[in-house]
Symmetry: C2
Subunit: 202 residues, 2 copies
DNA sequence: TCCGCTATGTTGACAGCAGCAACTTGCGTT
DNA sequence: AACGCAAGTTGCTGCTGTCAACATAGCGGA
């Protein structure tokens, strides 16, 4: 009995995405093969092709999931006052990158070819536009564009530098990634246009 | 005669790196194969292995060259007054990313495994420390760490967002990448991190 | 001058991968 | 009960990275 291997898996697509992230985290981009993912799920080497037309299509789905999760996480980080909210969102962005570095890299690696995967393009665009909108709300209408771009560049760059481990010890000054993010984002919020919000993140 | 195919190529290593960048730009990470590079150079499929122990080693060399070029470009962007210099360096950083997006991505993709390629790690570390130092010179000694990190994150993030083409039209407001970089970096230099004491930018 | 060493390149082989084709299974419909 | 389609399987092809054995050339010492 045990029904251990029903002929139809039933949830393969979702699991492919999930195990795909697992493999990607363990072995990196070069080590992520459809066959390895199939092996881990106990299905044949060609089963994935019934759900994804190509390896790249799986990558696109993984990135898409990443964007969805990023949006959800940012929404959860919402706060009462908008200034605190923007800071919390920035931290959430960085935290997401630090917790799921492989997916974060994939999302912005440019390897997926968004033009070939409209679903991914749409999801990414929505996700990023939302971020931009929220940032814009805080910085006000006049010159909102550049302030928004600034804040976004800032957070995005910080996330990349942190997960690349490329911050020299001198700058790190013994702080953890999270502490660093908190400090630097705080400095940004303080310096970048709007004066208030004394240490909004408790 | 023509000496078209001397048995010994004479300059293979350098050309592998150069053509490697070419292929990477054309076909992306997945499309970059040692065999393709060898083909373009008219050598056998195994010739590259006399210069690089693995595909990854070639990638490392390409990234290393990228860091070297980035440093050179930044040095060339030096200016008289330090404040103008820092801005010029930031622009140079972004310009490098926009001109050679494939290499820039490779340099920060984390796919190369710096721990396995000490030469790359050294070059990257030197390159980035130099950037940090120069930024630090401008922002002064007190709180230099966070201001430096801020500026660097900022430029790094802006570069990534620009070359990902992920900036919504609303924020772009019709400006070219270069114009955008100029505007945003200018805003940063004006607003960021000077501790609120003075306004060094005339 | 000649000999042989080493760096550089070549041919041949193997295993792993993406993707195509043809076959099988079994669930949902009628 | 019969059937059709979605989901899974086996088998194949061509490409890739990498290993091993062999070939060539230019160089330094005898």
């Amino acid at each position: 009995m045990t029904t251990s291997r029903p002929y139809h898996h039933g949830d393969l697509r979702r699991q492919l995405v999930s195990v795909g992230e697992e493999v990607l985290a363990e072995r990196g981009m070069a080590g992520l093969s459809l066959r390895e993912v199939a092996r881990r799920l106990g299905v044949s080497h060609n089963a994935p092709f019934k759900h994804f037309a190509s390896r790249e299509a799986l990558l696109a789905a993984m990135a898409e999931q990443g964007f969805a999760d990023l949006v959800a996480r940012q929404a959860a980080a919402e706060a009462d006052e908008p200034e605190a909210g923007i800071l919390a969102r920035g931290l959430a962005y960085v935290t997401f990158a630090l917790e799921r570095p492989a997916i974060f890299r994939l999302m912005f690696s440019g390897e997926v070819g968004a033009e070939r995967h409209p679903d991914l393009a749409a999801r990414a665009s929505v996700s990023l536009s939302e971020i931009a909108t929220r940032i814009g709300e805080v910085f006000g209408p006049e010159n909102a564009e550049d302030a928004t771009l600034s804040a976004w560049s800032f957070v995005h760059g910080l996330a990349h530098l942190l997960l690349d481990g490329q911050i020299p010890p001198v700058l790190r000054a013994g702080r953890s990634d999270q502490e660093l993010a908190r400090a630097v984002l705080g400095a940004m919020a303080h310096g970048l246009g709007y004066g208030g919000a004394e240490d909004p993140v408790a």
